[in-house]
C-alpha cells in the first residue's frame, strides 16, 4: 500500500460533497473493534430503494471535457491492474507491470499534462509476486497478492494463513483475502469475525483487502452485515468480488458497502477503503463509481489509499477515451500498447 499521510483533502474541500463530518475521522489503519452483534443484527438494506438510488446516479452526475479527462486519469491512478489466470507466466506479468508503469501513451499524457501517471497497484497470484516486484522496482507501485485459497477460500485453514504469511514474506504490500461465504450464509458472524481478525494479524504490516464475493452472499443485507463484520475485525479495504463469481461488482452492492464504510467511520472514526472488482470495463462506468465515492464518502475516497478498481480491461477503454479527448477523434484499441 502506498504509504502516504491522510490525504490533504481539507486543503481544498470539494464543494459540499464530503458527507462524513471530517472531525470524526482518525488517522491511521483501521485497528478493528470488538464484534458488535447488536449492530450487525440491526443492519438494514432495502434493495429496491438502493437500486433506485443507483439508477438515478448516472443521470445526476456527469463530467465533461477537461473534467472528464481528469477524472479518467484519476480512475487510471486507482486501478489495481490485475492478472489472475492459471496460465500466468513471469513474462506475462512483466508485460502487465510495464503497462502499470506507463498505463497511457506518453504523448497523450504529455498533452494532458499528466506525465508520471501510474496505476494504483498490480494484483497477481502468490507465485507471480516475485516477477512483479522485480518488474516494478523503483516505480513506487505496490504489488497486491490474492490469497487464502482464492477464489473459493475453502483450502485448509492453516494453509490459508500460511499463504498470507508466504505472500507477505515474498514482498506483497497488499493481501486480498477471500472470506468464507458459508459463515455469512449461515449467519455465523463470530466465525467470520475470528477468521478475518486472524487473517489481518497474519498480514502484519501489509494491508488487507477483504473480498466478500458479494455475488454469492444472497442479499444486500448480507453484504452490509459482512462488510461491517470484516471492518470490525480490522479490514483495511472491503472488496466486492474475486472476479470469478457469476455476478461481480454492481452499483447496488457498491452503494451498500460504501454506506457500511460510512457507518463504520461514523462509529469509530476510522476510514476503510473500498474496491469494486470485476465487471467494470467501461470508462463511463468508472466515472459513475467515482461520483458514487465522491457523493457518498467524499474526497478522501478518491485516493488510492482508500479506493481501487479491480479491473483488467477498464484501462483499454479509458485510453481510447483519453485519446479522443486529446485529438477530438474516436480512437481504436490497436493504437494503445497492450499490457
Amino acid at each position: 500500500m502506498q504509504t502516504q499521510p491522510p490525504p490533504p483533502d481539507l486543503a481544498h474541500p470539494s464543494v459540499g460533497t464530503d458527507l462524513v463530518p471530517q472531525t470524526h475521522s482518525r488517522p491511521g489503519r483501521n485497528p478493528g473493534m470488538p464484534l458488535d452483534l447488536d449492530w450487525v443484527a440491526a443492519v438494514q438494506a432495502n434493495t429496491s430503494a438502493i437500486e433506485r438510488r443507483c439508477a438515478s446516479l448516472p443521470g445526476r452526475r456527469s463530467v465533461k471535457k477537461d473534467w472528464q479527462a481528469a477524472w479518467l486519469c484519476k480512475a487510471v491512478s486507482l486501478i489495481d491492474l490485475t492478472t489472475l489466470s492459471g496460465d500466468d507466466t513471469p513474462g506475462r506479468v512483466r508485460r502487465l507491470c510495464a503497462k502499470a508503469r506507463q498505463p497511457v501513451r506518453p504523448d497523450l499524457l504529455q498533452a494532458l499534462g499528466m506525465q508520471g501517471l501510474t496505476v494504483g497497484a498490480v494484483c497477481v497470484y502468490h507465485e507471480m509476486i516475485e516477477p512483479a516486484l522485480r518488474a516494478l522496482e523503483g516505480a513506487g507501485i505496490p504489488v497486491a497478492a490474492v490469497s487464502t485459497g482464492f477464489p473459493a477460500g475453502l483450502s485448509p485453514w492453516a494453509t490459508r494463513i500460511a499463504e498470507i504469511r508466504a505472500s507477505v514474506a515474498a514482498g506483497a504490500a497488499e493481501i486480498d483475502i477471500v472470506i468464507s461465504r458459508r459463515h455469512v450464509l449461515t449467519g455465523n458472524w463470530q466465525a467470520l469475525y475470528d477468521e478475518m481478525a486472524e487473517m489481518r494479524a497474519a498480514c502484519g504490516a501489509a494491508h488487507v483487502k477483504a473480498i466478500l464475493a458479494t455475488g454469492e452472499l444472497g442479499s444486500l443485507r448480507n453484504v452490509a452485515r459482512a462488510s461491517l463484520v470484516c471492518m470490525m475485525a480490522g479490514a483495511d479495504f472491503i472488496k466486492t468480488s474475486t472476479g470469478k463469481e457469476a455476478v461481480n461488482a454492481t452499483l447496488p452492492v457498491s452503494l451498500t458497502m460504501v454506506r457500511a464504510i460510512r457507518a463504520y467511520q461514523d462509529r469509530t472514526g476510522f476510514r476503510v477503503g473500498y474496491k469494486p472488482a470485476g465487471g467494470i470495463s467501461k470508462a463511463k462506468d468508472a466515472l459513475v463509481y467515482l461520483s458514487l465515492m465522491k457523493d457518498e464518502l467524499g474526497h478522501p475516497w478518491l485516493q488510492p489509499d482508500l479506493f481501487r478498481f479491480g479491473a483488467s480491461s477498464l484501462l483499454g477503454d479509458i485510453e481510447r477515451q483519453l485519446e479522443h479527448h486529446v485529438t477530438g477523434q474516436y480512437s481504436a484499441a490497436n493504437r494503445h500498447p497492450m499490457g
Binding site: S14, N46, S48, A49, R61, S62, K64, A70, L112, D295
Partner: protein, 783 residues
C-alpha cells in the same frame, strides 16, 4: 484550470445541455405566440413575457387570453367534440399512440424547453417528466382502443376545461389531455402563466399526430383567463391542478352549474420513518421527496415524521446528504436542484420560513448561484404540529420534521393535517408497513419509496387535497358520464296540508331524531304535524337544526372508524339482516307508506329489500385492483370508505330512496347522516327500530328530519362530513356545492333531476364510486 488541478481537486465541472434547438423553435415563431385554437396559432394579442427563472431573461412573449379568445377556443372544441366522440375507439387510439411517439421523438426539445421555462433540472425533465408524458399517452391510447369494450354505458362529458400549474407543465398537460381525448372529450387547456411554452409546442406537434382541429386548444394567460375557461357555459367538465386556494375558488365558481369537476390540489405529505427502516435509503428517499423539482411538488414528502429513537441519527444523515446536493443552472446535467419557478414563489417560501423562529434549522452548505431564482435546501427539525410550518404547504425545498413514539402516534401525526394527497412509509417490517399504509388518509401511499408515478395507477387526494383520480381506469371515469338522458325534474311530492277537521285516531306517535343509535328530541324543541292525504294525523316530525346535524355528525365520526374496521363479510351480514327484518315488517311498512303517500307501499318495500340485498352482496365484492406499474413490486388500488356521508333523501321513493343511500354507505364502511324525504319524513322513524334490531352499530346511520335546505346547508359546511349527496326535490345542488368549499368534501348532487330509484340507476356503479375513494399503495419489493 489544468487537468492536473482537476485531478487533484476532483470537482465536477460544468456539464451544460444546449438550449440552441429550443431557442430556435421560439425564434421560429418570432418569439411571440398567440393561442392554439382550432388547429392553428392565432395572431398574438396583448402579450406578456415568460421568463427563464434561472437567469431572469425573457424567453418569449405569450398572449394574455381574453374572454373572446376563450369563447373561440371553446367554440372550436365544441364543434370538434361530436365527431371526435363518434370516432371508433381505435381511431382515437391511433392518434394518441402517435402523440406518445411524437413525445418520445422530441424528448430533448421538450425537456430543454420545459427546463428553460420552469427552472427544473434538465435531468428531471428529460429522465422523469417527458418519459412519464409519453407513458401517459401510451396508456391512454390503450384505454381508447378498449373504450367500447371496457366502458359500456358511458359517454364523454363533452368539452373539458383544464387549468394546470407551473411545477410540471407538460406532465400535467398529459394528465389532462390524454384521458380527455381517450374518453372522446375535446379540451381547452390553460397552461400556467409562468410556464406556457411546452403546451404550445405540444399543441403544434399534435398536428403531426393527425389530431383533428379543435380537439385540443391551448389558451395562454393568467388567472383571469383560467377563470374564463372555468366559467364558460359550454365547458362541461373542469379539471384543475394547483393550489387548494384556487381549487376552492373553482369549486365555488362552478357550484350549481352542473359542470363535472376534479381537483388535484396541495398537500403536506408525511414521510414516516420507523426505527427499523433502512435509514440511508430513507434519507435518499427524502432527496426524491422534497428536493425533487425544488420541492415544488404537490405530493412532496415535506413533513418528516421519524421515530424518536433514531431521530438524531436520521437528522444527521439528512444534514450530511443535503450538504452534498448540487444547485445550479437547470441546464447543467450535473446538478440536483435548479431554480424556483418564479421570484414570487421563492419570496413566498422565504417569507414562510422566516415566519417560524423555532426549530433546529439547517441550510444546506451547497453554494447558490450568484444570480437567478434559487432557494437552498433547508431542514427544520424539532417542530411541533402546532407550528404553521408543520401545517401549511411551503411548496419549496424546505423539510420540516418532528418525532413520534409508536406506530399509532405516527398515524395520528401523519393524519393531523387538512390535506390528504400522499404519504411515504419506511420500515423493513412488512406487517408494520401494511398495517400503517391503509390507516393514512392519503390518496397515494408509497412503501419504502416516494414520488412514484405511472399512468396505470390512480393519483389524487383525499380531504382538502382535492377529489377525483388521474391515471388508471378510475382516472378515465372522471371524463365520462352515464350514457342516458338526464332525468326529469322530480315532481315535488305533495305535503298534505292540515285538514279543516283533523282526524286523530289511536295512540299518539312521537317520532324523534335518530342519532348515535338513540332516538333523541330535536335541539330546537320544535316539530310539525304530518297529515295523511285523507286528513289523518300520522304523527309529529321533529324539526332538526344545525345543532342536531352537529350531534349526528359527531356520532357518525365516532362510529365510522369501527364500522370500517369490520370485515366486509360482517358488514354484508348486517345488511342482509336488515333486509330480513325489513321484509318481516313489510306489511306494516307498506301500510304505513300507503297512509303517508296514498299509494300502495308493497312494491316499494319489496324493492327496498332487494336493494339491501344488492348492497349486502356488494359489501365483500368491491375488489380494487392491482396495477402493473413499471417496477418490481405492485401498486394496489384499494377502494376505501369516503368516511362520513351526508345525504338529502329523495321524495319520489321515501323508503327505497333512504335505503338506496344507506345501503352503499354501510356496505363499504361509511357512516351516514340522512335527511329523510321532505314530504314523507315519518318513513325514517319506521326504520329506527329495524336498525336497532339488525345490529347496525349506533351512529353508523343517523336520521335528522326537518327543513332540507337548512339541514343541507349545515351538512355542506360541516368539516367532518366527507361527502354530501343530494337527491332532494328542492333546488339545493348549487348551495351544497358552494358550501362544500370548507373542507372540499365530495359532492354528488342531482341538479334538480330525478333518478329512477326502481331500476338499475338506483343502485348503479355511481353509488359504489361515490361511497369509496381509491387509495393507491405502492409496494416495491426485492431482497
Amino acid at each position: 484550470m489544468t487537468i492536473r488541478d482537476i485531478f487533484d481537486r476532483m470537482d465536477y465541472g460544468p456539464a451544460p445541455e444546449s438550449a440552441a434547438e429550443a431557442l430556435a423553435w421560439i425564434a421560429g415563431h418570432q418569439g411571440r405566440f398567440g393561442h392554439w385554437i382550432d388547429g392553428r396559432f392565432t395572431a398574438p394579442g396583448a402579450t406578456f413575457a415568460t421568463r427563464n427563472p434561472a437567469t431572469g431573461a425573457d424567453l418569449a412573449q405569450v398572449t394574455q387570453g381574453t374572454a373572446g379568445d376563450v369563447d373561440a377556443a371553446v367554440a372550436a372544441a365544441k364543434r370538434a367534440q361530436g365527431r371526435w366522440a363518434r370516432m371508433p375507439g381505435h381511431e382515437r387510439a391511433r392518434i394518441l399512440y402517435a402523440l406518445a411517439r411524437l413525445v418520445q421523438k422530441n424528448v430533448r426539445l421538450l425537456a430543454v424547453l420545459e427546463t428553460l421555462d420552469s427552472g427544473k433540472p434538465v435531468r428531471e425533465s428529460r429522465d422523469i417528466d417527458v418519459p412519464l408524458v409519453a407513458r401517459h399517452f401510451y396508456y391512454h391510447a390503450g384505454l381508447a382502443q378498449l373504450f367500447e369494450q371496457e366502458f359500456p354505458g358511458l359517454a364523454p362529458v363533452g368539452v373539458g376545461g383544464a387549468v394546470i400549474p407551473w411545477n410540471f407543465p407538460l406532465l400535467m398537460l398529459a394528465w389532462k389531455v390524454a384521458p380527455a381525448l381517450a374518453a372522446g372529450c375535446t379540451l381547452v387547456l390553460k397552461p400556467a402563466e409562468w410556464t406556457p411554452l411546452t403546451a404550445l409546442l405540444f399543441a403544434e406537434l399534435s398536428r403531426q399526430a393527425g389530431l383533428p382541429r379543435g380537439v385540443l386548444n391551448v389558451v395562454t394567460g393568467d388567472g383571469a383567463t383560467g377563470a374564463a375557461v372555468v366559467a364558460h357555459p359550454d365547458v362541461a367538465k373542469v379539471a384543475f391542478t394547483g393550489s387548494t386556494e384556487v381549487g376552492r375558488a373553482i369549486r365555488a365558481a362552478t357550484a350549481g352549474t352542473g359542470k363535472a369537476l376534479t381537483l388535484e390540489l396541495g398537500g403536506k405529505s408525511p414521510f414516516v420513518v420507523f426505527d427499523d427502516a433502512d435509514l440511508d435509503s430513507a434519507v435518499e428517499g427524502l432527496v426524491d421527496a422534497i428536493w425533487f423539482n425544488q420541492g415544488q411538488v404537490c405530493c412532496a414528502g415535506s413533513r418528516l415524521l421519524v421515530q424518536e429513537g433514531v431521530a438524531d441519527r436520521v437528522h444527521a444523515k439528512v444534514r450530511a446528504r443535503m450538504d452534498g446536493l448540487r444547485l445550479g443552472d437547470p441546464l447543467d446535467k450535473c446538478i440536483d436542484m435548479g431554480a424556483m419557478a418564479d421570484p414570487v414563489q421563492r419570496d413566498r417560501v422565504a417569507a414562510l420560513v422566516a415566519g417560524e423562529p423555532g426549530g433546529d434549522r439547517h441550510v444546506a452548505a451547497c453554494p447558490l448561484p450568484a444570480q437567478g431564482c434559487y432557494y437552498p435546501p433547508t431542514l427544520i427539525a424539532g417542530l411541533s404540529p402546532a407550528s404553521p410550518l408543520m401545517q401549511d404547504e411551503i411548496f419549496g425545498p424546505v423539510l420540516v420534521s418532528t418525532t413520534f413514539r409508536t406506530p399509532a402516534e405516527a398515524v395520528e401525526l401523519a393524519n393531523n393535517t387538512r390535506y390528504g394527497l400522499a404519504a411515504s412509509v419506511w420500515t423493513e417490517n412488512l406487517n408494520l408497513a401494511l398495517d400503517v399504509a391503509p390507516r393514512l388518509r392519503a390518496g397515494v401511499v408509497w412503501v419504502n419509496g416516494t414520488n412514484m408515478f405511472d399512468a396505470a395507477a390512480g393519483f389524487g387526494g383525499m380531504r382538502e387535497s382535492g377529489f377525483g383520480r388521474e391515471g388508471g381506469r378510475e382516472g378515465l371515469l372522471a371524463w365520462l358520464r352515464p350514457d342516458r338522458p338526464a332525468g326529469k325534474p322530480p315532481k315535488p311530492a305533495p305535503t298534505p296540508a292540515a285538514p279543516a277537521e283533523p282526524l286523530v285516531e289511536g295512540i299518539d306517535r312521537t317520532a324523534k331524531l335518530y342519532i348515535g343509535g338513540r332516538q333523541v328530541r330535536p335541539d330546537g324543541g320544535y316539530c310539525r304535524p304530518v297529515w295523511s292525504p285523507r286528513g289523518a294525523l300520522l304523527g309529529h316530525v321533529p324539526l332538526g337544526n344545525r345543532k342536531d346535524i352537529r350531534n349526528a355528525v359527531e356520532a357518525a365520526v365516532a362510529a365510522q372508524r369501527g364500522w370500517a374496521r369490520q370485515t366486509a363479510h360482517g358488514r354484508a351480514q348486517v345488511l342482509y339482516y336488515l333486509a330480513e327484518n325489513l321484509a318481516a315488517r313489510g306489511d306494516d311498512l307498506a301500510r304505513g307508506l300507503a297512509a303517508m303517500t296514498g299509494r300502495d307501499g308493497t312494491a316499494e318495500v319489496q324493492a327496498a329489500v332487494r336493494r339491501l340485498f344488492t348492497w349486502a352482496a356488494w359489501a365483500d365484492k368491491l375488489e380494487g385492483a392491482t396495477k402493473p406499474v413499471p417496477m418490481r413490486g405492485i401498486a394496489l388500488a384499494i377502494p376505501e370508505p369516503v368516511g362520513v356521508i351526508g345525504a338529502i333523501a329523495p321524495d319520489e321513493a321515501p323508503l327505497l330512496g333512504a335505503v338506496s343511500i344507506l345501503g352503499p354507505a354501510l356496505a363499504f364502511g361509511n357512516a351516514c347522516v340522512i335527511v329523510p324525504s321532505q314530504a314523507t319524513p315519518l318513513v325514517a322513524a319506521e326504520l329506527y327500530p329495524l336498525l336497532d334490531t339488525s345490529d347496525v352499530p349506533g351512529g353508523t346511520v343517523n336520521f335528522v328530519t326537518g327543513e332540507a335546505a337548512e339541514l343541507a346547508r349545515a351538512l355542506a359546511g360541516h368539516m367532518e362530513v366527507d361527502a354530501l349527496w343530494c337527491f332532494g326535490a328542492a333546488p339545493l345542488s348549487g348551495m351544497i356545492e358552494a358550501g362544500s368549499v370548507t373542507n372540499l368534501k365530495r359532492t354528488w348532487v342531482n341538479h334538480g333531476r330525478a333518478r329512477d330509484w326502481w331500476g338499475p340507476d338506483g343502485e348503479g356503479p355511481e353509488f359504489r364510486r361515490a361511497a369509496t375513494e381509491i387509495k393507491t399503495i405502492w409496494i416495491p419489493w426485492g431482497e
